[in-house]
Amino acid sequence: MDQLTQPTQLSEEAILEVLKQFITEVIGQEFVEDLDITPQSSFTKDLEMDSIEIVAFSEKVKAHFGKDIDFTGWLSNMDLDEIINLNLGDITKYIQSCL
């Protein structure tokens, strides 16, 4: 089980490390190996997550950072260009803003 951390002390770097782990779990180690995951990584273009993977990722984020983080709800309020340009740094900042 994922532990509920003490979130207020988390830096963006620390959040990013956790997210990298979740991404690896969701899309699989062998597909992550070819990727250089940085805050600039595009969620849809570089990580190529499909909707099922996004839901799985979102569940992990909730379980770890707290159930108030409505990641899929946040995504569904975006327009197309926001979705296309969404990168990991944006997600890190969003999670931090919820903590």
Partner: protein, 398 residues
């Protein structure tokens, strides 16, 4: 007898069912003409029908049409959100603008009783609306009603805004989209497979429609001698760039397995193929699938229909566009397994293939889908709807 004018995009998967329905209409004495922005091979056009490309009016758009067609190859390499933009803003809307002038001329000359527009070929509906001609829509794939991508409110609003602007640019100030018919929309699958519990009244599921026989030669003798289960593989007519990568994985997965792969792809992508791979560029797909035990494809809908018409299980590897929706329907119906192309692992391919070949539940679910397809009525049902529609409009006109 009535005159039907089909308006189609330059994508064969969308054109193909209209050719089948058109052939049946012609056989019953109706006049049928197609309008498209690109010629199709003469052998595909039903005898007695005409396929018109208004070259004179399209000429100024040719470089742009070529660029857009080439751009479709990017589909597998861009995200779902980007393919939506590519589809609507960069493909459907420009094609609508390019064809309109020529289409209007042909409509004036042919004087159709009914215009039949393909679901992404908005020009047909807009032209019909402006000329007061009744129109019907054809939808080759199961519609993704309230689907993932479009469920985001801002994405949905973007779609509607673009459609309304397109309509307005042709002088239509309706407050809703008119680019698909609100009176009759023929969908070439079964309602059960499409998994739409309460479809709108105008949506009619007629199942797959049959075309003319494909007499492409094939080495049937070699197939007779083939060992083990036979698996047909097709990537359809698009998606040229990814063939090598896709078939490399298939070779890694199946070269040493006791089964035979029949692949519809140009053999020249590799110097040598394993002995248990029968490879040919163009194949008589319908006849071939009837002799298979399973099918691997990315979700092109003509292959999906041929597969379940034969009650075969499918391993679907969705790549882009509507493939994901089709894959989810296959999983829901239990007639196959989905492995996403971008996450294709050789071991998963192998395991999934043997699972659908050995576990009879996939085959029986596929047989059930075949039954729903047959019950949907096919060509005859589609033509019955079209004739009834045309007759009801004629009554109104009197």
């Amino acid at each position: 007898m009535s005159k039907f004018l089909f308006v189609v995009p330059p994508f064969f998967g969308h054109i193909s069912p209209t050719l089948s329905v058109g052939a049946t209409l012609i056989g019953r004495g109706h006049q049928v003409t197609w309008v498209g922005i690109q010629e199709i091979a003469a052998e595909h056009i039903p005898a007695g029908g005409r396929f018109i490309v208004p070259h004179a009016e399209l000429e100024e758009h040719l470089p742009e049409i070529r660029r857009i067609l080439k751009r479709q190859d990017d589909g597998p390499n861009i995200s779902g959100a980007e393919t939506l933009k590519l589809a609507l803003e960069e493909t459907y809307m420009p094609f609508c603008r390019f064809i309109m002038k020529g289409l209007e001329r042909i409509a004036d000359e042919f004087q159709p009783d009914v215009i039949v527009n393909d679901c992404i070929t908005f020009a047909g509906a807009i032209c019909a609306y402006n000329k007061g001609i009744p129109y019907v829509t054809t939808t080759p794939v199961p519609p993704d009603v309230g689907g993932d991508a479009m469920s985001a409110p801002k994405v949905h609003a973007w779609w509607v805004r673009n459609i309304l602007e397109l309509q307005q640019s042709f002088g239509i100030y309706a407050s809703t989209a008119i680019v698909n018919s609100g009176e009759l929309n023929l969908v070439f699958t079964s309602q059960e497979f499409a998994a739409i519990a309460q479809p709108p009244e105008y949506m009619k599921f007629v199942g797959p429609v049959k075309g003319r026989p494909n007499n492409t030669p094939f080495d049937w003798e070699r197939l007779e001698k083939a060992v083990g289960p036979k698996v047909y593989v097709s990537l359809g007519t698009l998606l040229v760039d990814i063939r090598k990568d896709f078939f490399s994985k298939l070779i890694a997965a199946f070269a040493d397995e006791p089964l035979t792969i029949v692949a519809a792809t140009s053999p020249d992508i590799f110097e040598q193929w394993p002995d248990n791979f029968i490879v040919q560029g163009y194949v008589p797909q319908t006849q071939l699938i009837a002799k298979m035990d399973a099918v691997i494809c990315h979700g092109g809908f003509n292959t999906v229909n041929d597969t379940f018409m034969n009650g075969l299980p499918m391993l679907i590897t969705p790549i882009a566009y509507d493939h994901f929706h089709t894959a989810s329907l296959i999983e829901k119906a239990g007639c196959g397994i989905k492995l996403r192309y971008k996450r294709l692992r050789v071991n998963d391919l192998k395991a999934a293939m043997w699972e659908i070949l050995r576990n009879p539940q996939y085959r029986s679910a596929a047989a059930h889908i075949r039954d729903t397809y047959i019950q949907a009525g096919g060509n005859d049902k589609a033509v019955e709807y079209l004739e009834t529609f045309a007759a009801s409009k004629r009554l109104v006109a009197f």
